[in-house]
Chain length 329, copies 2
């Protein structure tokens, strides 16, 4: 993996650099999730505890469910001298709103857990086996000698829990659980957070899921399951399209299904196709044949044309992959 | 809490009693779940490692998803001298099939995490703050000096993860995560287990959920959400009624909903009503007024009569509880 021109730091070195810095701007990635926001807010609190000027910047609005993290958002009140990115794998992911481009051009420090981090920062703390950037940041804050307050623990737990699907995803390691234990011991509000993060869905999201489930179809002797939502259905349900992401794990969770497909029509009319696969089936190989890409178990592509065309095109590639010689049917 | 005539043991004492015993029969509770089966199988393996005669007995069949735990089920091949129950809160929960009653009448040892354990065994290791019996059994097996093999770790992880909804429920503590970390370090197959336990649903279960979601109704200004399944719908979907348990958490997971109701018609025609509440609303108080009972956030009752009557009766009690003076609307 090429990590650009960046210099790799360990936890102690990153903590040292943060402790000697001031007027610090923390950058989150666009379409912010619990890990980038949780890390941004936790690091904000830790640096505040050291009496530094610090603020957080994100190209997009912070979703309501993360409002409790309550970091101070940058409004130009100081001249940033050190820019630090949390959970951002590449420059493209910073986005371009809220004056982001002014600061994302030169990033001093980066704390990340994406193995493919492009190395855009001068100095990077990277651990690709951490399940969340929050798992790393926990060590950094400890190394800075800052106490993990209950609020910092809430922010870090949010990162840890959301990036692992509440300790369900394969990225979850023994260390993930150890950090979770430490955060609970530090007073994080685990019951309230789990309810907020995993058991609170908007009505509109429920309505969209209802429609999608009514569209469930099986193909290839039950080895492939497909759901879809048209542009009109998405609009009529009133769902925030960002809330539909989680639906993509639904078809592959059905017994016997090797490839789960979720087709969502975009505002322009094209179909965005999410491919999720059982262990041993290469989602990326399927998506790549249609101009897309991704990871081995989660990939995607986008197809022009109507629903039937999109279905036929992706099903042909699913069949080809499932029946490829390397696959045991 | 009255714990009967039992003598309470600590972990060391329980380990001692198991180590000096032989011809051991392990009893699980009826309608077996991941915790009782995981514990039964883990303890079976641990005692086998000490060269003892041991087998497991359960009044009901072991569900397929737990078949991998692979404990030896008792078929009368030895004369049990020590009977030990795992994750069984009271004698009623043993059930009456498979010759259970012959052994459940006199239980020597009990390892349990239900605060309300009735104290039916001669000696009990009870910790009501453990999230699963598996969390306790992990300590017992360690105290016995038996190595936690990957298979024992798989069995214990199954108990821990299923009883906590994969570390989501409020019973999850720092120690729960610490034990999870130890089990992963011991080689448990956490990725495969999470897929098996949480991301594999039968087609029939999907179909029943589809129907139930089409029946979603809101009441009391959106403070109450209700789903239902008639007897015919359950039959036509082909779902195993045991697989519907999880559905009961659906209505209360909707934003703004304080009381979630799930009505399932029973083979006899009556409606079984599951009441789930947000923090601060007493589910048990609602169910109790209709002759049911349960816990503060999860309770239930059963009503004769048709669907409309059942809905009206439960909704009246939900409204009464929500508008009770102690409640802030």
């Amino acid at each position: 993996m090429d990590h650009g021109m960046t210099e790799q730091l360990n936890v102690q070195q990153m903590a040292q650099r943060l402790m000697t810095a001031d007027n610090i701007l923390i950058l989150c990635h666009k379409n912010p999730d619990g890990d980038t926001i949780g890390c941004g807010s936790a690091l904000y609190c830790a640096l505040k505890a050291l009496d530094k000027n610090v603020a957080v910047l994100c190209s997009d609005a912070i979703p309501n469910r993360y409002a409790f993290t309550n970091a101070h958002m940058f409004k130009g009140e100081f001249e940033p001298q050190t820019v630090v990115a949390v959970d951002v794998a590449s420059v493209q992911l910073f986005g371009e709103n809220n004056g982001m481009t002014q600061f994302s051009r030169h990033v001093d420090l980066c704390i990340d857990h994406h193995a493919g981090n492009s190395g855009y920062a001068d100095f990077t703390l990277l651990n690709g086996s951490a399940a969340a950037a929050a798992e790393l940041l926990y060590e950094v804050i400890n190394a800075m000698g800052v106490a993990i307050t209950p609020h910092i623990a809430d922010c870090l737990y949010t990162g840890l829990a959301t990036d692992t699907g509440c300790f369900r995803f394969s990225s979850t390691t023994a260390n993930t659980h150890i950090v979770a234990a430490k955060l609970i011991e530090a007073g994080c509000h685990v019951e309230e957070l789990n309810t907020l993060l995993f058991d609170t869905k908007p009505r509109e999201r429920m309505e969209a899921e209802r429609i999608a489930r009514n569209h469930l179809e099986y193909y290839l002797d039950g080895r492939c399951a497909l759901i879809y939502l048209t542009r009109d259905e998405i609009e009529q349900s009133g769902v925030d399209p960002a809330d539909l992401e989680e639906l993509t794990s639904l078809p592959v969770s059905i017994e016997g299904v090797k490839v789960g497909l979720t087709l969502r029509q975009q505002p322009g009319g094209s179909y965005r196709i999410s491919v999720r696969t059982a262990k041993g089936v290469d989602a990326c190989a399927i998506a790549r044949r249609l101009g897309g890409g991704g990871h081995s178990r989660a990939a995607g592509c986008e197809l022009l044309g109507n629903l039937e065309n999109a279905k036929n095109a992706i099903l042909a590639e699913v069949e080809a992959e499932l029946d490829a010689p390397q696959e045991e049917a």
